[in-house]
Every structure is written in structure tokens, then in C-alpha cells.
């Protein structure tokens, strides 16, 4: 018995060793073949893209510049994400003249951060130009030594780039005096506007509310008199748990604050400033509680994180008032256009009702920077990358990338590119992803601030253009910018994402508590917030403020 077992065991163990050896070889093989297929794939696509250019290219070794590109899965026929009118345009107008082969590396938009982390960790395979909106990620890469310091390169090759961005915007990409990222630039920094059903107000003989109190009266009237004839389904104030709906209301309750309070009590979670600890926040929650318990805001607002339900309710003519990112209702297939299909007499008007204790319409705005555009340390083409960005920053090139072909896609009117609405689909498709290609720009650039705004408005359906302009100007009234220390707060990068959930939880719990239980619900939720990192952020910011003052 034992002998036979032995006989069996020996060959078995011998072959096991062989197996392990084989599987190791296999592992080597598979990673090898992966690598070669990736290389082969890119070489193939590259050669087809540069086939037209290679004959005209000047002699000398051609460099390949790899650039990250958001893929939203919406490339129209006959284009693909890596081979479209715009990628060819860049190859022909920047790549080929400079003997550079452009290669775009698609990254799914929704998994951008995870994918970027994987790319950065992979070392050699990472594109030469990567980007993110997330300041925490940028600071982490910079601190961990993963990024190229481009200070000298920008001075050497980036004169147009510097002029385009300006020192203010460039400063957002600096850490310890070194330029680790080239920030994109935002053409328009306004965020939010409020919108009301003007036709409902007219029916009730009310004027547009200009203060929070007047708004409250209008909401009450919407609820009681149901001017839209919704059969009791009316939602006077369309609410969600997304920033665009909660921010305008909450910030209007924040009291005037000293500089010290602004720096120490604000909490930056993700890329937004949160007023959790600022004086007046509790009053905002109290007001939320009142609105909810009187049935004035959407009952399920705590479940609506992506604003989908709100969009549906607006389109179905149930919502009387809501706040949003200022251009959102006005897109060609947006909620206003759809509302008009359902209720042809509907009229949405942009207003600015929330008023703070000083009588202004204070609301947050964006920083003047957009994405953090970064060149990984492992990149061998940092100079080419800076040249590319410098090329992109020149007004002519920017206009061409954002608008397409003059006379076909747009016409120049007083120096502003005006999109031709009657252009056929195959023509408009040329620039289907201009926002993702022109990484230096958030919003359209036409030269100066006013022109930028006009160019932006000119991109909307003509029936809404006046409304868009009104909403844009509202979003730009009485704004304040995010607070920045110019260096990361460690506790914020550590607890930021968790605290965003806790913050939403304070709102939901405070709002949904019975009025008598408000105090308890608010205090409990705030305590949880503070213990989950809020206190750590407060401590670190207080220290950082003291350090800043003593300098």
C-alpha cells in the first residue's frame, strides 16, 4: 500500500515541478505576447494615420507623442476615437510639420481616474500627456515624484502657452515653486443659475421672486394652487442631492466671514469647497427641513444623485422652480426643449432669488483653471508635449479645433466664431469631441472674456440664446472663488471622498427629520462628519493658516 503510494507520489511531484516550470514559461509568454500585440496594434494604427504625412515629413528620426483622450463612446461614423477629423487635423498641422507622430490613447470617460492610476503605475506605457480634474490626484502624483517638472520647458518652448494661460492660471499647476502641471483654462467661471416656470407665475398673477422670502411664497402658491394642473403631482422646488441643486440654497445662508474663517472653516472635498463648518450652515439645514416637511421639495431628492429624476420631472412639467448648472436646461435636446414638446405653453425663466444676510446673491464659481495636464516623469518626449500644448494655445489653432472649418462649420462674426445651425450632420460631426481634444480649454475661446461668452452662447439653439445669456450673467453675479492654500491638505485627500457622502448625509437627515427632531438629527449627522475626518481637516487647515500668517 505504502509502496504503491510512493510510486504514485514520485512521478506526480516530478511532473508538478514540470508543470510549474511550464506555467512560468506560459506566464512569460503571455505577458510577452500582450506586449508585442499592443506594440503591433499601435504601430499598425500609427502607420495608417501617418501614411499621408510620412512622405512629406522632414528627415530625421520621427518622435511619437502619445496623448490621453477621453472616450465617451459617441464617435459618429465614419470616425473612430483615435482616427477622426480632429486627430487628422492635429497630425497634419502640428505633427507632420514638426516630424512628430501623434498617437491618441483612449480612456473611457467614466473610469478616467482608475484608468489613469493604472496607466501611471504601468511606467513605460503611460502616454506623454495625461490629465485629470482631480486636484488630489495631481498633488499625489507630484509629491510621489511621478511628474516631470516643466518649469524650464515652458519657458523655452511655451511663450504662446504662457500668454494664453496667464500667471494666475499657471500657478494652479505649481507645487513648491515647481511647475508640475499645465492647468487648462476655463473660459467662463460661473456655475449656477435658478430657473422658474414664468407661465405659472403669470397664471397666479405673481412677479418673479427676487429674494428668498419671495421665492418661498411662490413655492407655497405653486403647491397650493397647482397652476400647472398636475393633479397634485406638483413639485414646487425640484431638488436632488447633487451640488447644482443644494449649493445655491446653502451658500445663500452662509454669514459674512473673516479671512481666517474662510481659510480654516471651509472644507475642500474632491474639487469643491464645502461650507459644513461655516456660520449659517445650520440655518440652511433648518430651511431645508422646513421645505421638505411642507412638501415643497422632491420627496426622493436623497436618491437622485445624477439628477435624472429631476430632469424627467422638469420635462414632464411637474417642477415649478429649480437650480442648475446655468446652461443645462438649454441644450438642443435638453430639459427645456423636451418640456416644450410636452407643454407647449411652458416658459422657463432664469432668475436669481437666493439672497444672503447682506442682500447679495452670493454663489460659488469655478477657479479659472480647468484640467491638470501632466507629463509623467517616464516620458521621453516632454519637450514635444510642451510644444504641442503651445501650438494648441494659439488662438487660430484653438478656434479651428473647437469649431471646425470656417464657412462650413462656423462663420466669423465680429471676431466670434458662430456655429452654423444648418450645417449637415457629417460636417458638425467633425468636431464632435472638440471639448476632449482641446484639453487646454474649458469652454470656447475666442480671444477675450466677452468674446468667449458670446462664442459660448452662439453654440446654443437660436430660440434659447437670449435665455442662455441671461442665465450666464446670473451665474456670474456676486460670485466667490474657491479658497486655496497653494498646497494640498493631507487630511482632505485622505478623507475627502468619504466626507462627501457624510456631507450629503447631513443634508438628507436634517431635511427628512420631523421638525421637532431636527436639532437631534442635525447634531448627530454633524458629529459623525467631524469624527470621520472633518475634525482632522479643520485641525490641519488651522495649522496651515497659522503657518501662512507667520510667513
Amino acid at each position: 500500500m505504502a509502496a504503491s503510494k510512493f510510486k504514485l507520489a514520485k512521478p506526480a511531484s516530478f511532473s508538478l515541478a514540470a508543470l510549474i516550470a511550464a506555467s512560468v514559461a506560459l506566464a512569460g509568454c503571455s505577458s510577452d505576447s500582450n506586449g508585442s500585440s499592443a506594440n503591433g496594434g499601435s504601430a499598425a494604427s500609427g502607420s495608417s494615420a501617418s501614411a499621408s504625412g510620412s512622405s512629406a515629413a522632414p528627415s530625421g528620426k520621427q518622435a511619437t507623442l502619445k496623448v490621453e483622450l477621453f472616450d465617451r463612446g459617441n464617435s459618429p461614423q465614419p470616425y473612430t476615437i483615435t482616427d477622426s477629423y480632429l486627430t487628422k487635423y492635429i497630425q497634419d498641422h502640428f505633427g507632420t510639420p514638426n516630424n512628430i507622430k501623434m498617437e491618441f490613447v483612449p480612456v473611457p470617460r467614466s473610469e478616467e481616474l482608475n484608468k489613469l492610476n493604472v496607466l501611471m503605475a504601468s511606467g513605460g506605457d503611460v502616454p506623454d500627456i495625461v490629465f485629470t480634474y482631480d486636484s488630489g490626484t495631481f498633488y499625489r502624483y507630484a509629491q510621489q515624484g511621478g511628474l516631470t517638472d516643466v518649469t524650464d520647458l515652458v519657458n523655452q518652448y511655451g511663450s504662446n502657452l504662457k500668454a494664453f494661460l496667464g500667471d494666475d492660471t499657471l500657478a494652479y499647476g505649481q507645487l513648491d515653486g515647481k511647475q508640475y502641471a499645465i492647468p487648462g483654462k476655463r473660459s467662463i467661471t460661473g456655475k449656477y443659475a435658478s430657473f422658474i416656470r414664468k407661465d405659472w407665475l403669470d397664471k397666479l398673477g405673481m412677479k418673479e421672486p427676487t429674494t428668498t422670502d419671495e421665492l418661498y411664497d411662490a413655492l407655497k402658491a405653486f403647491k397650493e394652487k397647482d397652476p400647472g394642473g398636475t393633479g397634485g403631482k406638483v413639485i414646487p422646488f425640484g431638488m436632488t442631492i447633487a451640488p447644482a441643486e443644494v449649493d445655491p440654497l446653502i451658500w445663500s445662508f452662509i454669514q459674512p466671514t473673516t479671512d481666517e474663517q474662510k481659510y480654516t472653516l471651509t472644507q475642500k472635498l474632491g474639487s469643491n469647497d464645502y461650507p459644513t463648518l461655516l456660520p449659517g450652515f445650520k440655518d440652511a439645514m433648518q430651511f431645508f427641513n422646513k421645505l421638505y416637511n411642507e412638501g415643497l421639495i422632491s420627496k426622493d431628492f436623497g436618491l437622485d444623485e445624477d439628477k435624472k429624476q429631476l430632469g424627467q420631472d422638469v420635462q414632464n412639467g411637474l417642477v415649478g422652480f429649480f437650480t442648475e448648472d446655468y446652461p443645462n436646461p438649454y441644450y438642443a435636446d435638453g430639459s427645456y426643449a423636451n418640456l416644450l414638446k410636452n407643454v407647449s405653453t411652458a416658459k422657463i425663466d432664469a432668475i436669481d432669488p437666493f439672497t444672503n444676510s447682506e442682500g447679495t446673491h452670493a454663489k460659488p464659481a469655478y477657479d479659472s483653471n480647468g484640467m491638470y495636464i501632466m507629463i509623467p516623469k517616464t516620458s521621453k518626449h516632454a519637450a514635444e508635449a510642451v510644444k504641442y500644448l503651445d501650438w494648441m494655445s494659439q488662438t487660430d489653432n484653438m478656434v479651428a479645433l473647437q469649431n471646425g472649418v470656417e464657412g462650413e462649420n462656423y462663420t466669423m462674426q465680429d471676431g466670434i466664431p458662430v456655429v452654423k445651425e444648418d450645417a449637415p450632420t457629417d460636417v458638425t460631426n467633425r468636431v464632435y469631441n472638440f471639448g476632449d481634444i482641446a484639453i487646454l480649454a474649458n469652454g470656447k475661446f475666442a480671444g477675450d472674456d466677452e468674446k468667449n461668452k458670446q462664442a459660448f452662447v452662439a453654440g446654443f439653439p437660436s430660440q434659447f440664446q437670449a435665455d442662455v445669456r441671461k442665465a450666464l450673467d446670473i451665474s456670474d453675479t456676486d460670485t466667490f472663488k474657491p479658497i486655496s492654500f497653494g498646497h494640498p491638505i493631507d487630511a482632505e485627500s485622505k478623507y475627502g471622498t468619504a466626507l462627501q457622502d457624510k456631507y450629503d448625509q447631513i443634508i438628507v437627515k436634517s431635511a427628512m427629520a420631523k421638525p421637532a427632531d431636527f436639532e437631534k438629527a442635525y447634531e448627530a449627522a454633524l458629529k459623525d462628519y467631524m469624527q470621520s475626518g472633518g475634525q482632522a481637516i479643520l485641525d490641519e487647515r488651522t495649522k496651515a493658516y497659522q503657518a501662512m500668517q507667520s510667513k
Binding site: K7, A22, V24, N117, R140, K299, K494, A498, S532
Partner: protein
């Protein structure tokens, strides 16, 4: 010499084993190399080997986080409740299916019962929202028409738990019957016939033949379930949960997702993952030990 003869005769069988073994080696064992991240201040520009050792610092930090205990509690609570509610469901279903006589009825109901298993949680989440929402959910619209008050199914903790558990049963009970049914068809038919001759009714037969016949299967599944006590699927709590019930719906997997992938705290996320694995292993081993003592059945 004999070894060579043996190999020559059976090498094809071993060759068949190469792929599965390679799979386990590449995808199950070699990633364990990364476990050391839990003991390092991981910086992915320096890679795993280049990062600094920090000993147990990360463990200390995780064990000081309030969220860790809350998500740990929720994971155990949701899994335990799930075990109580969802574990017997497929067994009951399987017994009923097994007793059903008409073949076409058996086939048809089996297929219908399997379908929910193939629906992704994201879609189930959408269905749940449409059914149970307070403002526009079907059930609440119905209650409204009957003149009753709306029930906050998704935002009240207790109601949410009920919804969470029932969707679990709905989704997995049908699929869970497969193993039981297979075991039941393996029971010798003569036992049933003999029992019938001796005058045993339907419930007697179920109690004395069917259930003992699938005892091994029940124990095996129970052990596997206990071993999974510490791990919890990501999509179900993430999709069904919402801000109002975060106190209950936030579990270890969503915690790891948030700290690891969203905040880039790989070290902390690995610590939690390792902790889960170790405690999970302890659960399996003790469940196996207990079951061997009690029933002589085990999986190891």
C-alpha cells in the same frame, strides 16, 4: 524507470491539468505578491518593491477609523440577515419543485426562477427605485390612491433592510435551487417507493428522505456561505443603498472602493482586504470544524 512509463502513459491527463493550474498560479497566487502593500507606504512610481516598509502602521490607522468598524458591523449584519432570510429560500423552493409532478411545469418554473439571477444589480436597482420610490414609486402611488400615507421604503432604515433582503431572495433563490435539485435527483427512488408503501405521507417523505438526502449539500453550502461572511458583493449594497441609509448600507467593499480606488489610498485598502481574507479564512475553518464535529460532513 517506472515513473517514465507512468508519465508516458498518462501525460495527456497531466497536460489537461496545465491550463487550470496555470490559471490558478497566474491569477490567484501571483497577485498575492501585492499583499505586501499592506505593510508599505505604497508609491506606485517606485513600485511595490521600491516602496518603504512601514510595519503595522497602516493597520493601526485602519483600526482607528470609525468608518471601518461601521462598515465591518454592516457587512456582518447584512450577511447574517441574508443568511437567515436567503439561505433557506432555495431549499424550500427546491423541495417544492422536486415534489411537483408535471414535467412541463417543473421546467417552466425552473426557467422563470433562474431569470432574475442573470439581471445585473444596476438594473435591479432601477426596478427597485421605480417600484418603491416615495414620490413616484408604483407601490406608493397605489397606496396614495387608496388614501394611505406614503411609506418611505428606501429612505427608512428598517424598510430599507426589508427591501434589501427581499431583493436578495428574489435575485438568487431560483438559481440556488440548482445544486439542491441535482442532489435530490441523486436520491435512490426506491426509498420513496418503499416509504409510500409503508404509508408515509408527503411531508414524512420530505422530512425523512429528501432532506437527509441533501444534508451534505446543505452543510457544504452553509460552510461556503459562512466563509463569505466577511466578503460582501460590491454592487448590491452600492446600488440598492443611498445617502439616507448610508449608516446601514455602507459595507467593507464600498469602503475599500472609496479609499482604494477613489482616494488612491492603496495601502489602507489592501489592509482592509487582507483583514477580510484572514477573518474569512478563520470563519471557513471554524465552520468546517464545527460541522465535522456535529455531522461528520465537511469540505476539507
Amino acid at each position: 524507470m517506472r515513473g517514465i512509463v507512468y508519465l508516458r502513459r498518462y501525460w495527456q491527463l497531466y497536460a489537461l491539468l496545465v491550463l487550470p493550474l496555470a490559471y490558478f498560479f497566474i491569477f490567484r497566487y501571483s497577485p498575492m505578491w501585492g499583499v505586501q502593500i499592506a505593510f508599505k507606504d505604497f508609491n506606485f512610481f517606485q513600485g511595490i518593491t521600491g516602496s518603504k516598509w512601514i510595519g503595522m502602521d497602516a493597520f493601526r490607522e485602519v483600526f482607528h477609523m470609525q468608518d471601518f468598524y461601521r462598515t465591518l458591523r454592516n457587512t456582518l449584519m447584512l450577511n447574517l440577515l441574508d443568511l437567515i432570510v436567503s439561505f433557506p429560500a432555495p431549499l424550500l423552493l427546491a423541495v417544492m419543485l422536486f415534489e411537483a409532478r408535471p414535467m412541463w411545469f417543473k421546467r417552466l418554473s425552473q426557467t422563470i426562477l433562474y431569470i432574475p439571477h442573470f439581471i445585473s444589480w444596476v438594473i435591479i436597482g432601477g426596478i427597485v427605485y421605480q417600484l418603491f420610490g416615495t414620490q413616484s414609486g408604483m407601490i406608493n402611488n397605489l397606496l396614495d390612491r387608496l388614501g394611505l400615507d406614503a411609506v418611505p421604503f428606501l429612505t427608512d432604515k428598517t424598510w430599507w433592510l426589508v427591501i434589501y433582503l427581499l431583493t436578495g431572495v428574489w435575485q438568487s433563490a431560483g438559481w440556488g435551487t440548482i445544486l439542491y435539485l441535482a442532489a435530490m435527483t441523486g436520491i435512490n427512488r426506491e426509498l420513496f417507493e418503499a416509504a409510500e408503501v409503508d404509508g408515509a405521507g408527503r411531508f414524512k417523505r420530505i422530512w425523512h428522505i429528501t432532506l437527509p438526502g441533501v444534508k451534505t449539500t446543505i452543510v457544504t453550502l452553509l460552510i461556503i456561505n459562512l466563509g463569505n461572511m466577511m466578503t460582501i458583493g460590491f454592487d448590491r449594497p452600492f446600488v440598492i443603498g443611498n445617502k439616507a441609509v448610508l449608516d446601514y448600507s455602507d459595507v467593507l467593499s464600498t469602503f475599500v472602493y472609496r479609499t482604494g480606488l477613489e482616494s488612491g489610498q492603496y495601502t489602507l485598502a489592501t489592509v482592509v482586504g487582507l483583514f477580510q481574507a484572514v477573518v474569512g479564512l478563520i470563519f471557513v475553518l471554524s465552520a468546517n470544524f464545527a460541522s465535522k464535529k456535529l455531522t461528520d460532513e465537511g469540505i476539507l
